[in-house]
């Protein structure tokens, strides 16, 4: 905690004090400057009390000087262990106001001067030496004044504190103007501005901006060397750094180090999450911020270079550009072998490449010298890896220990802002929630997700996960309401294995349910489940929500709403990135055609790869969003069917079908849900249309027809292995495996087709077209003889045809498929 804490931020600006003092005319300059210097030294050696004493002396010289006030506030803040950010923020804003006031006054004065001087110069148009030199001194004074009253330092500190409080948007809004007008800011501070910008942009998932800042830094600070060169120069420099590390350098490293964990963690999300998802960006947040260093102690160029490399790694990693990341990591490690960030990023790289064992090794190497906060991050990263290895309980245990690590590190001393800023428990608890969900613990998972909402409330994925929790809970029969009828339906649901989830929605179309007088009561009562319990107090929300289908619907609505809001923005960002890419390419072309020197070429290539990375990230995001939106719509439709609201279900399903690039499994689901909704609305004819389109599409697929048996086998084997994951509806699963072809084959494969037939049987039967119904029922039964619904459909049709004998035979033949709810329904019907 110590090293990290103290190191990771140092807003104060003793240098400013020095200069402030120096600018005082009325006081003996040398003493003041000496005092300021001493104060700065004390500050850097962390004896804040001594530093304060001197600062107070300085204040005696001129108690109006805002810089001294500013420095006093900062030193006090540090002396108190960074526990009272509010106080510092207040002083900062006062200082800022005061500075602005003084600056205005100075400006007025300057105006007066300049008008005087202009009049003077007009007088002697010949431009004689005396006068113009007077003017010059005047303006120099003014510049000095302006520098004194510069508000950039208090602003930067302000942004930094906001960042530490994890209020990224607020920090960004303060920082953005500084960055836009970065030229006049002195170099050390400008560097901090850039670094802070980078951290915030990476933390809040704005790779475009991050790349922009990174490029600016490379240009402005001139440390960019072509990678090869860097590696050759590196060793010498690197060897010197560890020993000579200035405090600031230290700072940077810690910062960056933490930053990297974040990154790792972020990835872990990606990895961690079971689906295609945007969660990748979820976790990221880099803590960090560079302190404002004293002017006398600029950050050594090597460290800047190191940082630049590390940031590039992070960008490349999130763009999945593994090759480039590898290169950058190598250069970074060349600069400093021991840099924790670099090592962690390396672990992340291995993780991305699927070398889990290597990644684990790397992490365990690091964990020995990690402080508690870091330890938590590392444990969480290990958890992600184990999640990938499908060691669910172990992963869950790692996440739990990670959370505990944060909790313990907290208890030892009062919470400081730094500790708060490094706390990643919200991200980790999201991870933990995901893990619980995949362990089949939807209720606990939803609690975790709701807790994580404090951070991720604007990520659609979080809401989708919450909805998923509800659906899983429904399928597991964990929802509170247990009327008899409900439990009947539940039995069917649970009884259906992995793939039969697809059947389920169509399932209510099946004869039994349609015919009993007690029909389709799936869940009106579900609404009641939602009675919120007022017990626990949450950070964000007044109360926790209990799982219910209504809650699922709300979450899904929120998610789709967020998609809509993000969409415009995402499209914009992607377009921007693409344009930038094109531009860079052009530039590259022209440059190479001109036959530019080797080094500019290298630079151009570098920028190009960065821009390309950004473009890749944006594009990837768009795809994810599209896929997730489909999932959300399908699930929405499903839930609305569940609460007996077919009108809305129909609307969602139609919207799903309207999506461009609607993937096959979703098409199927969309048609199925739409058909179900239409049946409930007593419009079987239209339902039939939906189902027939579906049928045509599936049979049109040659692979399916050919590989039927094969896929059937696959199915069965798949069933067992998936057993732990399922209990979710078809859609969920699809999202999970969208990537691999097998799953697609699965959903559009035999069993999906069988359920499709069953649904068709039901519709035909309702319309009285018993011949067709009979034919299809037979087909379904031969296709998946183990499917109880298929059997029941066949029996139902036999009964309708008044062939009790054959119905009985069928029932006997398939006796082993015990279908509790349905047989009850049947007897009623009879």
């Amino acid at each position: 905690m110590d090293g990290d804490g103290d190191g990771s931020k140092e807003p104060p600006q003793p240098g400013a004090a020095a200069s402030a003092a120096a600018s005082e005319d009325t006081r003996p300059q040398s003493t003041v400057a000496g005092l300021a210097k001493e104060a700065a030294q004390l500050f850097h050696s962390r004896s804040y009390q001594g530093c304060l004493l001197i600062l107070h002396q300085l204040q005696l010289h001129n108690d109006e000087d805002p810089k001294v006030r500013h420095n006093i506030a900062v030193a006090e803040y540090y002396r108190d262990g960074c526990t009272n950010p509010q106080k510092l923020l207040e002083v900062l804003s006062q200082v800022k106001a005061r500075n602005e006031e003084l600056a205005r006054a100075a400006e007025e004065q300057q105006e007066g001067n300049s008008s005087a001087s202009t009049s003077g110069s007009t007088n002697s148009t010949g431009g004689n030496g005396g006068l113009s030199s007077a003017t010059r001194t005047n303006s120099v004074d003014v510049v000095a004044y302006m520098e004194d009253y510069d508000t950039s330092i208090p602003n930067l500190n302000n942004a930094m504190i906001m960042y530490h409080l994890q209020r990224y948007a607020a920090a960004m809004s303060i920082l953005e103007p500084l960055y836009r007008n970065i030229e006049p800011i002195d170099e050390a501070a400008a560097l901090r501005v850039c670094l802070l910008m980078l951290d915030i942009t990476l933390a809040s998932g704005q790779p475009g901006k991050a790349a922009e800042v990174l490029q600016y830094m490379e240009k402005a600070f001139g440390y960019l060397l072509p990678p090869t060169e860097a590696s050759s120069t590196a060793p010498t420099l690197a060897s010197s750094t560890p020993e000579t590390e200035s405090l600031i350098a230290n700072t940077e490293q810690t910062l960056a180090r933490t930053a990297s964990d974040e990154v790792l963690e972020e990835d872990s999300f990606t990895l961690g999450s079971l689906e295609v998802d945007s969660s990748q960006n979820l976790g990221s947040r880099a803590p960090i911020t560079p302190a404002i260093a004293a002017r006398e102690k600029p950050i050594p160029p090597v460290d800047v270079k190191l940082l630049l490399h590390l940031y590039r790694v992070r960008l490349f990693l999130s763009a999945r550009n593994l090759k480039a990341s590898k290169r950058e990591i190598k250069s970074a490690l060349n600069l400093s072998r021991e840099n924790m960030t670099a090592l962690l990023l390396k672990a992340q790289l291995e993780y991305c490449r699927g070398n889990y064992r290597k990644a684990i090794k790397q992490l365990t190497l690091c964990i020995g010298r990690a402080d508690p906060g870091m330890r938590g991050m590392l444990l969480s990263n290990l958890g992600c890896i184990h999640h990938r290895l499908r060691k669910d309980q172990t992963a869950a245990l790692y996440f739990r220990k990670a959370l505990q690590a944060f909790a313990i590190s907290e208890r030892r001393e009062p919470l400081s802002v730094l500790g708060f800023s490094q706390d990643r428990s919200l991200s980790i608890i999201y991870n933990a929630g995901l893990q619980q969900l995949s362990c089949g613990n939807p209720i606990l998972a939803s609690r975790c997700f709701q807790e994580a909402a404090a951070l991720y409330y604007n990520r659609p994925l979080l809401w989708l996960r919450l909805a998923e929790c509800c659906i899983v809970a429904l399928e597991k029969g964990l929802l509170e309401n247990t009327t008899t009828t409900k439990s009947e339906v539940k039995v069917t649901v649970v009884g259906e294995g992995a793939w039969r989830r697809v059947v389920l929605p169509g399932g209510s179309l099946n004869p039994t349910v349609v015919n009993g007088a007690l029909v389709l009561k799936v869940d009106e009562s579900e609404g009641d489940v939602q009675i919120p319990d007022g017990g626990e107090k949450w950070f964000v929300s007044g109360k926790s929500h209990k799982l219910s289908l209504s809650f699922a619907i709300q979450c899904l609505q929120i998610a789709t709403c967020l998609f809509d809001r993000c969409d415009a923005k995402a499209a914009e960002a992607a377009a921007e990135a693409a344009v930038a890419l094109a531009e860079v390419k052009d530039a590259d072309d022209t440059q190479s055609s001109k036959g530019g020197g080797a080094s500019p070429k290298g630079e151009a290539k570098d920028t190009k790869s960065l821009v390309a990375a950004v473009a890749a990230i944006e594009e990837h995001k768009m795809h994810e969003t599209a896929a997730l939106r489909m999932w959300a719509l399908a699930a929405l439709s499903y839930c609305q069917l569940g609460v007996g609201h077919p009108l809305r279900a129909l609307r969602s399903a139609e919207e799903l079908l309207r999506q461009t690039s609607c993937a096959r499994p979703y098409m199927l689901l969309g048609h199925m849900y739409a058909a179900e909704a239409l049946c409930q609305l007593e419009r079987p004819q239209e339902a039939l249309e939906h189902l027939s389109t579906c049928l045509n599409e599936t049979t049109a697929e040659p692979t399916n027809a050919g590989a039927e048996d094969e896929s059937n086998l696959k199915w069965k084997s798949g069933d067992n292995s998936e057993a732990s994951v399922d209990g979710e509806d078809g859609a969920t699963y699809t999202v999970g495996a969208l990537g691999d072809a097998a799953s697609v084959a699965r959903l559009t494969g035999t069993n999906a087709r069988a359920s499709l037939y069953i649904n068709l049987v039901a519709v035909y039967a309702m319309q009285g077209n018993l011949q067709e119904a009979h034919r299809l029922a037979q087909l379904a039964l031969t296709m998946s003889p183990a499917n109880p619904t298929a059997m029941l459909a066949a029996v139902y049709v036999e009964l309708k045809l008044e062939r009790k004998e054959s119905a009985l035979t069928l029932l006997k033949q398939y006796r082993h498929l015990c279908v509790v709810s349905s047989s009850k329904g049947l007897s009623q019907y009879d």
Partner: protein, 427 residues
């Protein structure tokens, strides 16, 4: 949907039209029963009520019917699928307009929130003009609400209203005024999780909602119980299986792993034994995750050797130390869990070894023979190996009910298996 011949519509129709003051109570109850079964019943009921009220202007039972309609609507308003029910019920009415809704509400004396809910429900209609009418009605009512806030609006309704307001850009102004008056309407809504997206400017930048000051005061970063719940949710049995043989490196280590979850109970032990027996011949894909686990989460010397099988004596030692008061016959009957299966004779032998290490009593034959398990396959696998086992491994000799000794000649088996009536019965 209902089949044509269903008696439900007829029954409901009859009851509604015959409604009078005298039978109000009983009819209302019956109708409630009928309609509580699903949307169809509700739709028919609502439709019938509306028709009756519309038609029978001179009916002396009009008031009673109004009462019934009010009752029905009030019931429905809290259902999540009000939209479908209302729209379906109104589908065949010729003129559903804003005015119609207003009249209806006036006649039934519905409160403002209820009126809003009705308007919103109508906005779900498929028919475009109906939808517009519903929206318009909704808009006027929300305006009224903003001007004259009703306290204690239900949170559910607040959410529905917000979604309604977000559905169309035209309602932008109304949206902001509603959000402004919201704290007066429902003070708690602001804190609600699902409300966050409405209140926060949602873009890609994030402000965490967790307040530093709040955390400092409460001294914890997370809800306090959640870690504990996670601990209880830890399934040590799977953990053991995932980590592999090395868990049984030493009693201390084994204890450490087994105590990661809640207290170790009989059910857990049963699953541990089952798992160990099942995986005795080798675990699939040992990923070597135990080493890092041991290094990072456990305190102790590094393990040098790698085990290639379970050390059951260590395992049982750990179990007995963790919970010395285990009831072993309860453990045996807890073997009936999903997934229990003994693949071969070795597994069975190992299982029995573990049993004997755990407890000295003779094996409780009752527990496996008294009834058919839910996991009958698992039970069969156990019995099969038990019957063919050598007597020193397993014996039915102490079975409570046995065939007479005299018949031993015919049914000779070393471990008295075929003498046990319990066994025969269960088979």
């Amino acid at each position: 949907m209902l089949p044509c011949g269903s008696p439900l519509p007829a029954q409901i129709g009859l009851q509604v039209s015959n409604l009078s003051k005298d039978n109000y109570k009983s009819v209302a109850e019956e109708l409630y029963e009928l309609s509580s079964d699903g949307p169809d019943g509700s739709i028919i009921l609502l439709r019938n009520c509306l028709e009756q009220v519309n038609l029978a202007e001179n009916d002396q039972n009009l008031q009673v019917k109004f009462d019934l309609l009010t009752l029905v609507i009030r019931n429905l308003i809290h259902q999540p699928n009000l939209g479908t029910i209302l729209c379906e019920a109104l589908r065949f009415l010729p003129s559903v307009s804003e005015e119609f809704l207003a009249n209806l509400c006036r006649a039934l004396k519905l409160s403002l929130p209820e009126q809003i809910a009705l308007g919103l429900a109508l906005a779900d209609a498929e028919d475009y003009s109906q939808r517009q009418q519903g929206l318009a009605f909704f808009e006027t009512k929300v305006k009224e609400l903003c001007e004259d806030p009703v306290p204690d609006l239900s949170e559910d309704l607040v959410e529905r209203i917000l979604w309604g307001l977000y559905s169309s850009e035209a309602l932008l102004k109304l949206r902001s005024s509603f959000l402004r008056s919201l704290p007066a309407l429902q003070p708690f809504a602001v804190d609600s999780l699902t409300m966050i997206p409405f209140f926060k400017d949602v873009n890609k930048e994030v402000n965490t909602l967790r307040e530093f000051d709040y955390v400092t005061i409460s001294e914890s970063l997370l809800s306090d119980t959640i870690l504990m719940d996670m601990e209880h949710a830890t399934d040590v049995v799977s953990l053991l299986e995932e980590l592999g043989f090395d868990c049984t490196h030493s009693v201390e280590h084994c204890k450490e792993i087994l105590s990661q979850g809640g207290p170790l109970l009989e059910g857990d032990v049963a699953r541990i034994l089952g798992t160990v027996a099942r995986t005795a011949k080798g675990l699939e894909e040992v990923q070597n995750i135990h080493g890092p686990f041991y290094n990072t989460l456990c305190n102790g010397e590094a393990i040098t050797s790698k085990l290639s099988s379970w050390h059951v004596d260590i395992l049982l030692g750990a179990i007995n130390q963790l919970n010395p008061s285990l009831n072993w016959s309860l453990i045996v009957s807890s073997l009936d869990y999903e997934g229990f299966f003994l693949p071969d004779e070795n597994a069975f032998t190992l299982f029995m070894t573990m049993y004997k290490l755990g407890c000295e009593d003779p094996f409780p034959i009752d527990a496996i023979c008294s009834h058919v398990w839910k996991n009958d396959e698992g039970q069969l696998s156990f019995l099969r190996h038990a019957i063919s086992a050598a007597p020193e491994v397993f014996s039915f000799a102490h079975s409570t009910r046995k065939l007479m000794e005299t018949e031993e000649g015919n049914l000779k088996s070393p471990n008295h298996a075929w003498l046990s009536l319990d066994l025969l019965e269960i088979l």
